[in-house]
Amino acid sequence: MRRTIVFGWLIAGFFLQATAYFFLGAKLGIPQSPANSNPRVPYAGLVFICGVMMVFISAVIYELLPDREDKGQTGDVRDGREYGR
């Protein structure tokens, strides 16, 4: 489940980047008119950055989401109390 969420998140991040770069931002090619300078959709740059951030957030999700493997494993116990929670 954790891996599915992580890969979903990762793909969504890359998808946002590609969409913003190729379809939402200004047209690619030799600039001949203002259409080559202005973004087709406002905030295309912000969408691109969000995509970059989502890709890196997937690493946090991968590490922070609990997994089946975690069950029954003890890590940091002292004086009968578990730390780091």
């Binding site: 770069y21 740059g45 950055i49 970059v52 890196f56 494993q73 940091d76 780091g84 929670r85």
Partner: protein, 440 residues
């Protein structure tokens, strides 16, 4: 495994206190903090004056008609701070990818330097804008992802800073967990940072995988980001002195030079302040010195090639800019940069004959290359604007005012405050236990 971590070992004796003087305010720390806060306060005042009176109180003016430069000291320091950030995170990523255990003690210092340098770079961008609010609103709205300016000011400072923060956060959870065991005011903070990390084999395996892929993703992002900063200058065909295919690689290499130099200086200060001679050993500094040596050589090679190309085949304006650098208004600074880099190189070579000098040679070379990096950025940004116009304007001039110097000093103060503040709340060096296990 579970009982082993009842107390962590710091040096040779188990302790219940937080390591590296975390949470304990000392006289020297207070003095350093007061000094940094004073510099920061001066910077805030300078920026307040600029914000209320306008950029007319800076030394920046239009090119040509006003005989000045619209890009001044702030752009110089954007390039410098972004450069410093490069070496930090790339070193941390390479330590992970290539298992350079010798350098592990400096990995966190490098990561923290990266984040702080990027924050300072972002502040430089804001200081450079006459109306920062309008810039903050318009940049995301109208920016074009394919533009080098977007790449530099947006992708670098947001995407790459975010990536560095994620790397720093995940890499520090284990130490946060260890610190969270010690009762005190910071316990809750450390517990939140640890976010459930319990050092189970599964969690360690997961972190190993995540940090590997994160490092793989960060390296190309870094090279792209720093190359785009070079492209901001290198792609401007109408600006002699900037238009060069070597701008991007030169930026990446110079970034490595200044960043590695600053890392050596910061590591030496931490070694002294924390008494960590056993962990930040001469071997660590020899590694960093050798890296710095190779980077300086590579940079000098690129510099010579670029200069020869501009002199040999350059147009009239290109030669005019080169003349201003060699014998004109900027000659002193130009030759000083060369002398500083060669002096650093000589010091780093000298350590091969006297290995005991590694620390002193490294720190001195680190300071020299950082001064050289700042001057070199100045020589890149300014002369092409004052002496490079293609239109028949007479040569311009730029000298920063106290306001610009004040803002830059304030940023150094702000960066120092962040660094020493972090060092008082979190282990600035990987805790030994964690390091041993990762090596296993």
């Amino acid at each position: 495994m579970a009982q082993r971590v009842g107390t962590y070992t710091y040096g040779s004796e188990p302790t219940e206190r937080l390591p590296y003087g975390i949470g304990r305010v000392t006289g020297p720390w207070l003095f350093a903090a007061a000094l940094a806060a004073g510099a920061f306060g001066f910077g805030v005042y300078a920026y307040y004056r600029q914000y209320t009176e306008g950029e007319v109180i800076t030394g920046m003016r239009d090119i040509g008609t006003m005989g000045g430069t619209p890009w001044g000291l702030y752009v110089v320091f954007i390039a410098y701070f972004v450069g410093v950030s490069f070496a930090g995170i790339i070193l941390a990523a390479l330590i992970r990818l290539m298992n350079l255990h010798q350098l592990k003690p400096v990995a966190r210092i490098a990561e923290v330097l990266t984040v702080i340098a990027l924050v300072c770079a972002a502040c430089c961008v804001l200081a450079d804008l006459g109306n920062p609010i309008r810039g903050l609103l318009n940049l995301p709205r109208y920016a074009r992802p394919g533009s080098p300016l977007f790449g530099t000011f947006t992708l670098v400072i947001s995407g790459y800073m975010f990536a560095s923060l994620v790397y720093l956060y995940l890499d520090s959870r284990r130490d946060a967990m260890i610190c969270a065991r010690v009762p005190g005011r910071l316990q809750t903070f450390h517990r939140i940072w640890a976010a459930g990390y319990r050092d189970t084999p599964a969690q360690r395996r997961r972190h190993y995988t995540a940090s590997f892929w994160l490092a793989i993703a960060i390296v190309p992002l870094l090279v792209t980001a720093h190359s785009t900063l070079g492209f901001v200058f290198g792609l401007q065909i109408g600006r002699p002195g900037w238009h060069s295919a070597l701008q991007a690689p030169s930026f990446v290499i110079m970034a490595g030079v200044s960043g590695t130099g600053l890392l050596i200086v910061a590591a030496a200060i931490m070694r002294r302040a924390l008494g960590e001679q056993e962990r930040l050993t001469g071997e660590v500094f020899r590694w960093l010195n050798n890296l710095l040596l190779v980077l300086i050589l590579a940079y000098l090679y690129l510099w010579i090639v670029e200069t020869l190309s501009s002199v040999y085949q350059g147009g009239e304006q290109e030669v005019e800019v080169t003349r201003a650098l060699f014998t004109g208004e900027y000659a002193t600074l130009f030759w000083l940069v060369l002398a500083l880099l060669l002096s650093a190189l000589a010091l780093l070579i000298a350590q091969f004959f006297r290995p005991g000098l590694a620390l002193v040679a490294g720190v001195t070379a680190g300071v020299l290359v950082n001064v050289a990096a700042i001057f070199k950025r100045f020589l890149l940004v300014i002369p092409s604007q004052t002496h490079g116009p293609l239109l028949p304007y007479s040569p311009g001039h730029y000298s920063p005012t106290w306001v610009e110097y004040g803002v830059v000093i304030g940023l150094f103060g702000f960066g120092t405050l962040l660094f020493i503040g972090f060092a008082k709340t979190f282990p600035i060096i990987h805790l030994p236990e964690a390091e041993k296990e990762r090596a296993a």
